[in-house]
């Protein structure tokens, strides 16, 4: 794993990708800082400047991950990784960590901004540190999506575009969720669709009709049981679930200085899930 991490990290600086990412990110962060804090004489770094940067790295993360697996497939170096005496998930983890490390390093450079500000005003350090942690975790989650997408295709351009699209969608969930129907009925339908989807997914991976039927039945039973016990659960269920899934809505806890364990676990398991998906995708090639 360490070997892959080192190699990927080095590759960022052998190829122009690392410099482009760092340069662009720091340039825009600098502009935001100068306009948002210096010219407007504001002390509000965490909520103003840092939160404003989310959009920038929504756009920049695809740059970081687009070549991470596509190049292996294009140059046929994948076979080297697949025949190496290490499990696939470690290879994927190494690649993910390399991208996260570069991203984290870039983020660390921007710490200079609040330090500069601290000479001229009173900084709320817990808030700023919290924001940085949140920012980093959010970036990791986006990176894990990017790594997964790059394992799906052997073209860098399509990997970048699809990643951008997915990351934008997760970012937009916050706006979309507000427009979802709020009634009990819609909640019930949503639960049923979810159960059906789960059943189909089980069928797709196991090709076993009985097991997937049982999963579907269990889903229906749970929905029915909750309907009898506590109807309130279904009120605006769609909005609630979308918000729970939203990567960014959780992020806004961090600039408030709230470091919740559940948020931390959410982000880490999000990354873990996508790393798992990626290694399954790679493993699948052995069986094609």
């Amino acid at each position: 794993m360490l070997a892959v991490l080192k190699k990927e990290f080095k590759t960022y600086f052998i190829t122009p990708v690392g410099y482009i990412f760092m340069g662009l990110f720091l340039l825009i962060a600098g502009i935001t800082f100068v306009t948002g804090n210096v010219f407007s004489m504001s002390e509000d770094y965490a909520n103003g400047t840092l939160s404003g940067l989310i959009l920038v790295f929504v756009l920049a993360i695809p740059l970081l991950t687009m070549r991470i697996y596509t190049e292996e497939q294009r140059q046929k170096t994948e076979q080297l990784l697949m025949t190496a005496p290490i499990p696939t998930w470690q290879v994927v983890l190494g690649k993910f960590l390399a991208a996260s490390l570069l991203f984290g390093m870039t983020l660390l450079v921007t710490v200079i901004f609040p330090i500069l500000l601290s000479f001229h005003g009173r900084m709320e350090w817990p808030v700023i540190i919290g924001s940085y942690i949140g920012f980093f975790l959010l970036g990791c989650a986006f990176t894990s999506i990017g790594v997964f997408v790059s394992s799906l295709t052997d073209s860098q351009a399509s990997a970048a575009i699809i990643t951008l699209f997915l990351v934008l969608i997760t970012w937009m969930i916050d706006f979309i969720s507000g427009y979802m129907p709020q009634s009990n009925l819609s909640g019930i339908i949503f639960a049923l669709v979810l159960a059906l989807f789960l059943g189909l997914m089980v069928y797709n991976s196991s090709r076993n009709l009985t097991v997937s039927g049982l999963v579907l039945l269990a889903g229906l039973l749970v929905t029915g049981a909750i309907l009898l016990i506590n109807k309130e659960v279904f009120t605006s269920l769609i909005t609630k679930s979308l918000n729970w899934f939203s990567l960014t809505s959780r992020f806004y806890n961090f600039p408030r200085g709230i470091l919740k364990l559940s948020d931390l676990v959410y982000y880490l398991s999000f990354c873990g899930f996508f790393i798992y998906l990626t290694s399954r995708k790679i493993e699948k090639k052995r069986w094609s």
Partner: protein
């Protein structure tokens, strides 16, 4: 050392490898021979754990490679058909990465690199970017990669494809060098390479093993009759008359040749009988000057064509 039992691989409906079994002993040099798409690369990919067999199993030192993939992969160095090179690295950087990837201890990595660059003769380019190397050097870096960590088994898929004749000879010498301490499995459709270095040849066609023997035995087995090639100066009818008087000569075929007033003739004898002397006297009796005569051994190429076409007719 390596054993394949009832190995089958299908891609959807297409059967790439069809129920083949073979076993390879320690220290052997095995050649996989077959036309493109015969299933050589698929078989090799399965041996290296890159592909999972649809059916059957492969064991290395008695361990099923699907049960303990990480453990068994340590024994095998693999050069795929297209060498897996990172073009943006230098040769040394690349070999170092491969060493780390294969979990070779740090100290040994340095020793391995020093030893291997000299063995495969890439010491003079070791600090250059792989992108800028010629095809022959790239191929050798690919072999160097397989050698990292000194695995007892080497699987080389078409090590000499796309190289010029001088480079092919160099690769062949290298393989002869590697023979000393490795079990080698080489695939190729460049036949002299296989017969020059291999102890045993497996001929694969359409996912099946058509033949498995030493190159010499294969040649003997398939020649069967004794063929002689002749170049004779004279008229076709006179040549035919003279040769048909030779006892045991069959299948006389005559074709024009580049030399003026001369003919290319092949004569096949019944059984193992050597008819060269009789042919000489018959021709000298007919006052037909003999310009060339040599016994025709079936080359591996002929065997190969013979076997694969026989397979097609069946």
């Amino acid at each position: 050392m390596i054993k394949a039992e009832n190995l089958t691989k299908s891609y959807g409906r297409h059967l790439a490898v069809d129920n083949i079994s073979f076993s390879i002993e320690k220290g052997e040099v095995i050649g996989f021979l077959g036309p493109n798409g015969a299933g050589k690369s698929t078989t090799m990919n399965m041996m290296c754990g890159c592909l999972a067999p649809s059916e059957g199993r492969i064991t290395i030192n008695g361990i099923d490679i699907m049960d303990e993939p990480e453990e068994t992969r340590k024994y095998v160095g693999y050069l795929p058909e297209q060498p897996p090179l990172y073009f943006e690295m230098t040769v040394t950087e690349y070999l170092k990465f491969v060493g780390e990837l294969k979990r070779v201890p740090k100290k040994q990595i340095k020793e391995d690199i020093d030893r291997i660059v000299n063995l495969v003769k890439i010491a003079d380019v070791k600090d250059r970017l792989i992108r800028n190397l010629s095809k022959g050097y790239k191929q050798r870096v690919g072999i160097a990669q397989a050698l990292m960590g000194n695995p007892p088994i080497l699987v080389l898929d078409e090590p000499s494809v796309g190289l010029d004749p001088k480079q092919i000879i160099e690769i062949r010498n290298l393989i002869n060098e590697l023979k000393k301490d490795h079990t080698l499995i080489i695939s190729s459709h460049i036949l002299p390479e296989i017969s020059a270095v291999c102890d045993r040849v497996l001929i694969i066609n359409k996912g099946n093993i058509v033949a498995s023997d030493t190159p010499e035995n294969l040649s003997k087995r398939l020649t069967g009759s004794n063929k002689v090639y002749l170049r004779i100066k004279g008229e076709e009818s006179a040549v035919r008359d003279a040769l048909s008087s030779v006892a045991g000569a069959e299948h006389i075929s005559v074709s024009p040749c580049q030399e003026e007033e001369a003919l290319d003739v092949t004569v096949e004898a019944e059984g193992d009988e050597d008819i060269r002397e009789k042919v000489f006297f018959a021709l000298s009796g007919g006052k037909l000057p003999l310009l060339q005569m040599r016994p025709m051994e079936m080359s591996l190429e002929d065997i190969f064509l013979n076997l694969t076409t026989v397979e097609e007719n069946a």
